[in-house]
């Protein structure tokens, strides 16, 4: 049978500009460019091109450009090109379609339908360049009240505070495992986190020895595969996160194919080289809320109650009662990952069809925790599709304490979102373990860019606060009065807890 798959992209090369230096062949990990030395002819495998744009930017004469393929199936509104290609792929392989990065279906973004307020006349806006502006955020359990011992002029704290993380900006780097991304990517984020005074997550792949100097700014993860989980690992990090689910693939597990388990990954994950690293869908010691509680306290016992324990879940239909249960189960923070969250590998069907938008999830979890009078028991960390400082501000105004950024951080490191992370062939040296490809990311430069992104967003957050007439981020938290909805229906406004613009 003829394989009638039109390619997604075509590679155009300006023959006059091309100097036959072969650089494009070396740069492309997907094998798009081929040169027949005998016939002295170029062949470009358009069907293999993923539009990562590496070759185009590395070509010394700028001879290459990548374009969307003009060849498509006959247009049809229901049987789109993608639908037809997926069916053909599955007919050929009988397999689940794998993909990466976030949800690609055109669901509406609530962030883009929410607008922030600004001061005019009745209250003064603040100039953050000249006046104090605070972004510091503490993540963790807070007491109901504080008991103070006062004696003459001295005052002493009697309440013992639960362990908290101190963030200088309410933005952290999301958990992406060493294995799914390179050690250079991890190092870039770890250095940036330490420099800016925030944290990065290890993901479930453990902490590479090169990260140990930054361990006080690293959150370790305990996922269903329990890779690298070890009492020293738990004690080394600043906090522990139990990963129940992720927004890109709620309800399913994952696995790192054996071919990616290199010597170093094997050492970090504490599994044999070359063996599959399978993360079961659930934790097999957690089948109910009480079992989650058991694991939370097992981790607290093992770390002698010195580390905050977070629990990460995908934003699903019943997210509010689940998050309340998690906080009641003893978690110091609940991490909610929305349905636009990225991933290194996920079945397309899960990535695109499960879960709910993060905006709705934040609003309903914050509301429910307040209704039950336990909002102070734990913090809310939001993640999944946070693209800018405006998204951060809106997430906080909806009720989050802080956010995690994943895809945005990778883009800062050079990622072009070509969605091929799971192939391990990342042309920009990020989602790969190939020693040659990894050289493309310099951790010094990566750290500089990642830190710059945090600084730029933090600065914008201060400007946003200034415009709102606030000088501290906690005055924005759950301050939904400073948001208005544009083009949202009544029930949507009700869920988000915001008024329509003009009201």
């Amino acid at each position: 049978m003829v394989r009638n798959f039109p390619p997604d992209f075509v590679v155009r090369v300006d023959k006059e500009a091309c100097i036959n230096c072969m650089r494009c062949i070396r740069e492309c990990p997907f094998g798009v460019h081929e040169y027949d030395k005998e016939k002295k002819r170029w062949k470009r495998h358009h069907d293999k091109c993923v539009a990562c744009l590496r070759c185009a930017y590395m070509c010394p004469t700028q001879a290459i450009s990548i374009e969307r393929s003009p060849m498509e199936y006959s247009p049809h509104p229901v049987w789109t090109n993608r639908v037809r290609k997926d069916i053909k792929t599955q007919a050929e392989t009988g397999a689940v379609i794998l993909t990466a990065m976030g949800n690609e279906l055109p669901y509406m973004s609530y962030f883009d339908r929410l607008v922030l307020d600004a001061c005019q006349v009745t209250n003064p806006s603040i100039d953050p360049l000249r006046e104090p502006m605070e972004l510091r955020t503490y993540i963790g359990r807070k007491p109901e009240k504080v008991e103070i011992e006062e004696e003459d002029s001295s005052i002493r704290l009697r309440t013992k505070l639960a362990p908290n993380l101190k963030l200088e900006t309410p933005i952290m780097f999301a958990h992406m495992s060493y294995g799914s991304i390179s050690i250079e990517a991890h190092l870039s984020m770890a250095r940036a986190a330490k420099e800016v005074g925030t944290y990065m997550g290890t993901g479930e792949g453990g902490m590479h020895v090169e990260l140990y100097p930054y361990a006080d700014h690293i959150i370790t993860q305990v996922a269903s595969g329990r890779f690298a989980v070890h009492e020293e690992y738990l004690k080394r990090g600043a906090a522990i996160e139990i990963k129940i689910g992720q927004g890109a693939k709620p309800g399913i597990g994952g696995h790192l194919p054996g071919k990616k388990v290199t010597e170093e990954i094997s050492r970090t994950r504490m599994i044999p080289e070359g063996s599959d690293a399978i993360s079961p869908a659930p934790h097999h010691d957690i089948y109910s809320i009480e079992d989650l509680s058991r694991l939370i306290y097992a981790l607290k016992e093992a770390t002698r109650y010195k580390k905050p324990v977070f629990v990460k879940i995908a934003a699903v239909h019943n997210v509010a009662p689940i998050a309340v249960g998690i906080i009641r189960a003893g978690a110091d923070a609940v991490v909610i990952d929305g349905f636009r969250a990225g991933t290194g590998a996920a079945p397309q069907v899960h990535r695109d069809h499960h879960g709910i938008p993060i905006e709705a999830a934040i609003a309903s979890v914050d509301r429910r925790l307040r209704e039950e009078g336990i909002r102070h028991w734990g913090s809310i960390i939001a993640s999944g599709g946070i693209r800018s400082s405006a998204d951060v501000a809106k997430a906080i105004a909806l009720g989050a304490d802080a956010v995690y950024i994943g895809t945005a951080a990778l883009i800062a490191l050079g990622c072009t979102v070509c969605k091929k992370c799971y192939t391990g062939k990342c042309a920009w040296g990020i989602a790969t373990q190939d020693p040659e490809l990894r050289k493309r990311l310099d951790p010094e430069e990566g750290a500089r860019r990642a830190a710059n992104l945090l600084r730029a967003w933090s600065h914008e957050l201060k400007e946003i606060l200034g415009a709102l007439g606030l000088n501290s981020i906690e005055s924005l938290r759950s301050n939904r009065d400073r948001l208005r909805g544009v083009g949202l229906s009544e029930p949507e406004l009700r869920v988000l807890g915001v008024k329509p613009a003009g009201e």
Binding site: R3, F5, D8, D47, K48, V50, K85, D86, T89, Q90, E92, T93, G94, A95, V96, I97, L98, T99, S224, G225, R226, V229, H230, E231, E232, L234, K235, H255, P257, G258, S266, M270, I271, P272, G274, S275, D276, A277, I278, P280, H284, D285, R294, L295, Y297, A298, L299, E301, A302, T303, R304, P347, Q348, K420, Y422, T423
Partner: protein, 266 residues
């Protein structure tokens, strides 16, 4: 009606520190254990334990010896790194969860997920164990965890197993289910091996598992592991070993290799 919880009574008997755990909350009991170990005590005897959780969790101490009299609660020795624990009684769910090193010797029965994700050390259970025992057991370099059960095991034994060795001896059987191990045996296994002292019906095997003949090195391993087990419980190792064993191993180290497709790569 309130059950009064009280402070543990501590005394000394030869080189043992003896703790009466009756009515003591786990948090207090474990704080006490950790404190004693930090002070240099190496031999502890816990009396009247009944359901207290997390005993010896995350304990890094390779020469600690802890005796437990009674029922050890959930997650006994989770994340533990080295201690030897002897339980004169039963253990509840999750004993040896994600254990890195150490020994747990149980004179009674165990329930579900014993040895979950364990990476090193040994667990010996004299009686029966429940569901999903040894699930996602791993191994790493010289660390090869070993779990030996004198009785039978429930369904999903060695599910997702990635390494290590499980031995089920089936010395005693249950009336309601006389088989040596339950359904979906070793489902998703991609490393390690399970030895069963009986025949195993092929259709009991889970996804990705197969049976294999025992080699000389398997025999050597069995005589060592069963020998150790038998010496813990005063059993005759020779008699126990004098039987047919079935070995269950992965069909492949990549059980799910065919499951995914890239729409690009076709």
């Amino acid at each position: 009606m309130e059950i009064p919880l009280r402070k543990a009574r501590v005394s000394r008997e030869d080189e043992f520190v003896v703790i009466d755990a009756k009515g003591v909350h786990y948090r207090e009991l474990n704080e006490l254990i950790n404190e004693l170990v930090e002070r240099g005590e190496r031999k502890l005897r816990l009396l009247n334990v009944n359901g207290q959780r997390y005993i010896a969790d995350g304990l890094r101490c390779s020469d600690c010896y802890i005796e437990i009299h009674g029922v050890a609660g959930d997650d006994l020795a989770a994340f533990a790194n080295g201690p030897t624990i002897v339980v004169y009684g039963d253990v509840q769910d999750g004993a040896g969860n994600t254990m890195n090193a150490g020994r747990i010797i149980v004179h009674g029965n165990g329930t579900d997920i014993i040895g979950h994700s364990m990476r090193g050390g040994e667990i010996f259970v004299r009686g029966h164990v429940g569901y999903r025992v040894g699930i996602h057991m791993k191994e790493y370099r010289e660390q090869v965890p070993v779990l030996v059960v004198g009785g039978t095991a429930g369904d999903f034994l060695g599910e997702y197993m990635a390494g290590g060795r499980i031995v089920i001896l089936g010395l005693e059987r249950l009336e309601t289910y006389p088989e040596i191990a339950g359904e979906w045996l070793a489902t998703g296994i991609h490393g390690g091996a399970i030895y069963l002292r009986d025949e195993v019906d092929e259709d009991k095997l889970g996804y990705g598992a197969k049976t294999e003949r025992l080699s000389h090195s398997d025999r050597r391993f069995l005589s060592e592991a069963v020998g150790k087990f038998c010496s813990c419980f005063s059993l005759n190792a020779e008699e126990v070993l004098n039987a047919e064993f079935t070995k269950v191993v992965p069909k492949s180290h990549r059980p799910f290799a065919e499951m995914y497709s890239d729409s690009k790569e076709g």
